[in-house]
């Protein structure tokens, strides 16, 4: 196989893996019992899913101008997803949308 074909195949695998992780993230957001748990699904598999999609895209496109854009999207995804999740989680906690029956310990309550 030529290097181009190898990159194409690796790119295809990355695209499928990223799509599956994004699907799992969506299922998690839908199924998890409360907002804070849902934010776990909205950060970890979601971020890795996007990064894998970007990796797949980069391996298929292989042009410097596209790669620059792809790297930027990845950097900003890594920087912003946790911040967004924290803001939503904090708002949910402060407005009492936490299912206390599901919490083993809450050390924020006695602050």
């Amino acid at each position: 196989m030529t290097p181009g074909a190898v990159a194409d195949w690796l790119g295809a695998v990355s695209l499928v893996a990223g799509a599956l992780l994004s699907l799992a993230a969506a299922i998690g957001v839908l199924r998890f019992p409360d907002t804070l748990s849902r934010m776990h699904a909205a950060t970890k598999p979601q971020v890795l899913g996007v990064l894998l999609l970007l990796l797949g895209l980069g391996l298929r496109l292989r042009s410097p101008s596209d790669l620059g854009m792809i790297v930027l999207v990845g950097v900003f995804q890594l920087a912003t997803a946790p911040v967004a999740a924290q803001m939503i989680g904090r708002a949910a906690y402060r407005s009492g949308r936490v299912d206390r029956d599901l919490l083993d310990v809450d050390e924020l309550a006695d602050r």
């Binding site: 799992a24 950060t43 924290q86 310990v105 809450d106 924020l108």
Partner: protein, 202 residues
Amino acid sequence: MTSPGTGAARPSGTSRRAQAWAGRRRDQVIAYGWLVLVWNLFWGDFSWGNLLGGLLVAAAVLVFFPLPPVTFSGRLRLRGLLVFVGRFVVELVRASAHVARIAVQPGYVPRSAIIAVQLRVPTDLGLALTAEVLSLVPGTLIVEVDRDAGILYVHVLDVHGPADLAASRARIRDVERRIVETVGSDAELRMVRSARVDKEFS
């Protein structure tokens, strides 16, 4: 990059102020260069027109949307950075696999907990980076930050007992140590390595 404040002689008042000024100036130059680079990457190619546009836009951003100065007293350590990135990728993959698995597991309702963790090196930069990274490694998500006390309130997903909470505390301290080993000063490095792990809040 050199690290200010680690010289042998104790700087006097005026030279300390001059040093702080130089530090701020350096941070601004780095921010300026980064913004120009981002602008050019957004347009997809480097040309004189994009460079000029980038210089103008970056100047406008820095003048009209100034950010509070970041107290960065350390330096970038290449070895720490490599270790940090390697571990981060591994943990991101593990975290994603874990959350994806319990998301699709039929009939499973994960239990969780919120724990308070006192950081050993409560600088603004360390606090922010630790909080950010915690949301992307297995099990933890930042909920609230007590900036003055240097305490992070962390939501832990999929808890089965006290052992899981202890493991999460250890993981959070690990993340903090790796971040200090990447961007911390020598003094912060000593702090994070020598501070004993007290059993707080538990």
